[in-house]
Every structure is written in structure tokens, then in C-alpha cells.
Symmetry: C2
Subunit: 341 residues, 2 copies
DNA sequence: CGTAATCCGTTAAGCGCTTAATCACCCTAC
DNA sequence: GTAGGGTGATTAAGCGCTTAACGGATTACG
């Protein structure tokens, strides 16, 4: 309680009249001390407000009691996306109560991200890491395998033997397309995030496949970078093309909202003349007028599940591939029948 | 480079044919080794890919090389506010390159936040902490002082001897009011965040003072909790009262956007019949139609400055109170002359 | 030429904790 | 009566690094 001096196990040992070894056994609930002694030691420990020094513990047992997350998105974009904060709050839920802390780093390029993992590993600062936004042949995967650094991917199981937590996005893509088709749409364009991301590719593939199955020859995918500027540019181009689509599906909320502005500017009313669907539901989607129909994914759940899996993997569990609950389309006011053509 | 085995200084010592002490001196750029030896040692060190073990270093020099940030906002709200992510990205900028990492925790009640600080201190896991969202007689201030845990407040200098980084919100409040008055508004209501926060009080006080100075008897402050639901409720009440205001000033972007929806629902056009100003500018403000006039604060700058100050304080520097650059009003399309009454 | 100062390096203790090895007892079994 | 087997404790080594204290060799100086 008092400021400055932190009690150590040897303070406890002195107070209890036993060796530090006994204190350690007692405090860690291991055999080697009698019940009365254990009780006495524990009483003294929390009377003194003892908390184990993480450095000492790490040094001796090799565990950092921390996991790392690095988010590689330019500062410009990072503030905008609610995704990460929701993810982090999910992570915390799974971490709460336990001895493990979260180390966070935000970088603005992939090299810095790799360097961060390497440094954390070298410093023995983390027991494992979470990997988000996987790209094709992601160098991080190679790195963590080379370093034997336990890691869990937040995303589809594309790397064999790599534990991951994923959400069935294909299902959601199909649901969205079927929903739009049921409304009468035939010309649908998907405004995707950067091609490099695995999840972008997954969704695009699912989109193309489902479009073929549903007989939509005009369905296509265009790319932007998640920013509102790029989305506006792309949307404008698409909407002013020869035979413009009647529905757009976006890879995040910001781009969808941005498109709403573009539609307005072009004199297109949403949803009567143009339907819009956002991915990742958010306050943004709810608040905007018209409110955006969106695919809601269990983001916090992903975070929690990933942490639990990572902690297991750190403890030597086999590399599972965990699926979260399914995403669902939340229809709001940005989708309706297409105008009669 | 290779997986599994991390080199230690004694590996380096062996390779260089010197003692570990010499290696330590060389690697830390301290006197005690000759230039050639130092160079040889350093070469070997980075050929081996040596990185100091943070646990070992902490244990021996007492430094954790980490700072902590705990954000106490309910999960429901956290994802929505771009504030924290921007803050974090500012924090990272100041941390980049150095040996210090960021430990992040999200809690949903104040007791858990206190417990987190206490635990980090006990575990010697952090060298200092950042305090956000100060409240009146904040128990965290007492705690860090009692523990002698270096801390920097992100907010106004209300606690003497407590280092802080603040932004001149009063100035911004005045600017906003003067701007609205210049447009012709006389009935202005401020929709604030929770009263408990010091920054809420500061702005409210500034608002009341400036309103008096400008001769606005009807100016008043109502409170919500930063959420869109609460804001909608409050806004609806205010706008349907006897003599409704012609301009509203909000404490965050989400509430302002929410109000936009309410206005729409009540058949009030923005900005012609109602002017809206958001605090903290964001993509949300830019993207919404009409785009919201907003007060832009240098949030990332705050984060960077706070980290720099905290690192100084940890190194024994005196408790400065640093002011960031001033906030500025960014006028957009949500503010205009009030309707002729 | 003897002594002091300087330079470069080694030794060893210590940071707080874990844990294998050991030990001192007491109990039981044959 | 002694070998064997538990208990419940202590001892001590070790995790990787820092750093005060020490020491041997070289150089400077009166």
C-alpha cells in the first residue's frame, strides 16, 4: 500500500520465518508446504500487498505474461475504423483476471511490423502474438514460424498448421447477394479493400462465385484502400460508367458512407435509385441517413477467441482453427428494390 | 535469426573472448572498453542478432521500459470514438525507435482501472502511466502519488505538481460561440459529456462565461454520455422545448451525428433551421451530409507530447505542464445563419 | 627510476523469483 | 532395530543483465 517500497518474497519469508523457497511454493499453490504454513504465508503476502515482479518471474521461468498485437495501418486511417478498438476490447475480455497483459504497437509499414515482432521475441517480452490482416504469402507467418513464436491469425485458415480464428465471410457474401437479388438487383458491384489482404480475396472470390451461380454477368469487383477519398473516387467512376450498377457492396463502413455522399452529389437517392451495403456494422452505419444496411461480424468475439486460443497454443496446445459465430446482414434503409429500368 | 535459441551476452562474450561485463559495457556505450574491442563486440552482437532480454534488464536496473495506458470506457462506446486510436497512434510516434513499449488495458469500471495501475506498479511492469479522462478528485491521482508512479495527465492542469499535456479548450469554446453569434445565433445549447469529467466541466464553464460575455441569456448546458442514444434523447427534448435553440454544440462527433438524425426526424433542416457543431473532428464529421462543422484538436500531438513528457518525468525531470497547439474550428455545412424568428 | 595516474578489462554480487536437489524428521513395516 | 517412505522444509543454482570494486599493464611525470 505505502509508496515506494514494494515487498518481495524475501520480505514475506522474513515475516513468516521461512525460506524464500517455501514462500514461492506456497504462493504458487504447489506442494511442498503444509496447509497451515501456506495459509500463513498467503495472509502475510496480501497483508503486505505483495505482487510478483514480472521481470523476475519472466527471467526465471521464461514467460513474459504478455501477448503482442501490432496494427499496421497508416495513422490517417487508423482512427476511422472502429474495428480495432472493438477487437481490442474483445481481447481484454479474455485477458481480464489473468496475469497476461497486452502489448500494442501501431506501425505504418510492414517492415516496421516485422521488426516489432522480432524485437519482442528477442527481448522475450511476449509469449505470443496476434496476426491481423494477413496477406498472400505473408512474411509474418514465415517469421513467427522461424522464431517459433506462438501466434494466432485473425482470419481465414489459409496457412496449414497455423492456428487461427475466422468468421465465415463467404456465407455473408452469399447472403448479401441473395438478398440484393431477391430485391430485384442484377447489376451489383463490390467495392473492395486492397487486393493484397487475404480476406479481401476471400470475399471477392465468394462474390464472383455467388454472382455466377445467381446469374449476374455484370457483377464485378473494384478496389479502393478503405479510405473515404479512394472510395469516393471509385464510386463516382462506377456510377458514371455506361451501365451503372443498382447496388454497391463495400468492404468497410467508411467507404459506404463516403459513397452515400457521392450518390447524393450525383443526384441519386438512396435507396430508391441505388442500394448500398456496408461491411462491418458500426455506429457510423446506424447514425447516417439513410441508415446503412450492413454485415455485422462478431468482432469482439473474434478477439476473445483469438486470445484464448493463443494462450492455449502458448501452453502447448495443438494448432486449432476456430470458427466464430456467423456474420449476419442487418438490413436498414439503404437497400430497396432497384428502380424499374 | 534462427529459431528457438536467443543469444545472450555470454554467447557474445564467449565469441569475443571477453567477459560478460565487458560485453555489457560495450553494448551500452559506457567507458571501460577500448574502441576496437567495443566494435568487435558490437559486430558479433548484431551478427548473432542479439537483443537484450527486457526481463533481465528490468530485474537488474529496475526499469520496465514500458508505459501503461488504461482506457476506462464501456465496450459499447469504445469502438465508436476515433479519439483513442488517434491518441494511440500519436503515442506510438513518440515511442518509435526507443526501447519503450506500450501496455494497453481497456476496462469498464473505475475500480478495475485502479487495480490495473496498482498491479502494473507491483509487477514493476511499467515505468509510468498516462492518465486520461480525469474526473474531479480523481482517485488515480492519489494512487499514483502514493505509489510514486510517474504519471502524466492528458488534460487541463487541475492538479498542482502533476505533469500534464493540455489543449486550450476554453479558447475553442469561445471561438465556437463567437462564430455562432456572428452568424446571428442567440439561443445556443451545449450538449456535453458526463459532468464528472474535468474537461466537460472546463468546457461548460467556458461556455457559460463566454455566453454571459456575449449576452446570451438562453445559453445552457445539458448532459449526455457520449452515446448516440443518449444524445438523441437529449437533443429531441431540447428541440421540442418551449423556445428551442437554433444551434447546438456537442462534446463529440457521435452525438452530433446522432442529432443530425433527430433533426431530420423532426423535420428540421440543417443548417437552415438548426446549426450543429461537433467537438473532435473526425472522418465521421466529414462524411456525413451535411458535413459537420467541428472543432479539431491535435489529438495525436497530445499523445506524442504526453509520452515525451512522461519519459522525461521518469528520468527525473520536473513536472511540467505542456500546452499543445490550439484547437481550431473547421466550418463545414452544418452551420449557417439562424432562421429569421 | 620509482610512483602515480590512466586505461582496459575481469570478478562477483545482486536484482526477485523458480525449482531441482537435499535434508531432517517422523512414521510404518518387517 | 533398522531400512524404507513420506512430509515439509531449506539450500543453492540459475535465469540474463548491470555495475561497483578490483587488478594488471601501460604511460606520464617529478
Amino acid at each position: 500500500m505505502a509508496g515506494g517500497k514494494r515487498p518481495t518474497i524475501s520480505d514475506i519469508a522474513k515475516a513468516a520465518g521461512v525460506s524464500t523457497g517455501a514462500v514461492s511454493y506456497a504462493l504458487n499453490n504447489r506442494p511442498g508446504v503444509s496447509e497451515p504454513t501456506r495459509r500463513r504465508i498467503m495472509d502475510i503476502a496480501d497483508r503486505l500487498g505483495w505482487v510478483p515482479s514480472s521481470a523476475a518471474r519472466s527471467l526465471s521461468d521464461g514467460r513474459a505474461n504478455a501477448i503482442g498485437l501490432v496494427v499496421d495501418r497508416p495513422a490517417r486511417v487508423i482512427g476511422v475504423e472502429p474495428y480495432f478498438m472493438q477487437l481490442i476490447s474483445g481481447i481484454q475480455v479474455a485477458l481480464a483476471g489473468g496475469p497476461t497483459s497486452l502489448l500494442l504497437q501501431v506501425t505504418d509499414n510492414s517492415a516496421a511490423e516485422l521488426a516489432a515482432y522480432r524485437r519482442w521475441w528477442g527481448e522475450r517480452r511476449v509469449d505470443g502474438v496476434l496476426l491481423v490482416d494477413l496477406v498472400q504469402n505473408d512474411p509474418r507467418v514465415e517469421l513467427v514460424q522461424e522464431l517459433r513464436l506462438p501466434a494466432v491469425v485473425l482470419g481465414e485458415p489459409v496457412v496449414p498448421d497455423m492456428p487461427c480464428v475466422w468468421t465465415d465471410d463467404e456465407l455473408a457474401v452469399e447472403e448479401v447477394l441473395e438478398y440484393l437479388v431477391a430485391l430485384g438487383h442484377r447489376r451489383i458491384v463490390r467495392v473492395a479493400g486492397p487486393t493484397k489482404f487475404v480476406h479481401t480475396q476471400t470475399r471477392s472470390r465468394a462474390f464472383t462465385t455467388a454472382a455466377a451461380r445467381l446469374g449476374l454477368p455484370d457483377a464485378r469487383v473494384v478496389h479502393a484502400d478503405y479510405s473515404d477519398e479512394a472510395a469516393a473516387r471509385v464510386t463516382r467512376r462506377v456510377l458514371t460508367s455506361g451501365t451503372p450498377p443498382t447496388a454497391l457492396v463495400f468492404d468497410n463502413d467508411v467507404m459506404a458512407v463516403s459513397a452515400l455522399g457521392v450518390a447524393h452529389e450525383l443526384g441519386l437517392t438512396v435507396p430508391d435509385q441505388l442500394s448500398l451495403v456496408a461491411w462491418d456494422d458500426s455506429a457510423l452505419c446506424r447514425l447516417v441517413r439513410p441508415a446503412l444496411s450492413a454485415v455485422r461480424r462478431p468482432i469482439a468475439e473474434r478477439g476473445s477467441a483469438a486470445v484464448r486460443l493463443l494462450l492455449d497454443v502458448i501452453n502447448g496446445a495443438p494448432a486449432e482453427q476456430v470458427k466464430t459465430s456467423d456474420p449476419e446482414l442487418v438490413p436498414r434503409s439503404s437497400t430497396a428494390h432497384p428502380p424499374p429500368s
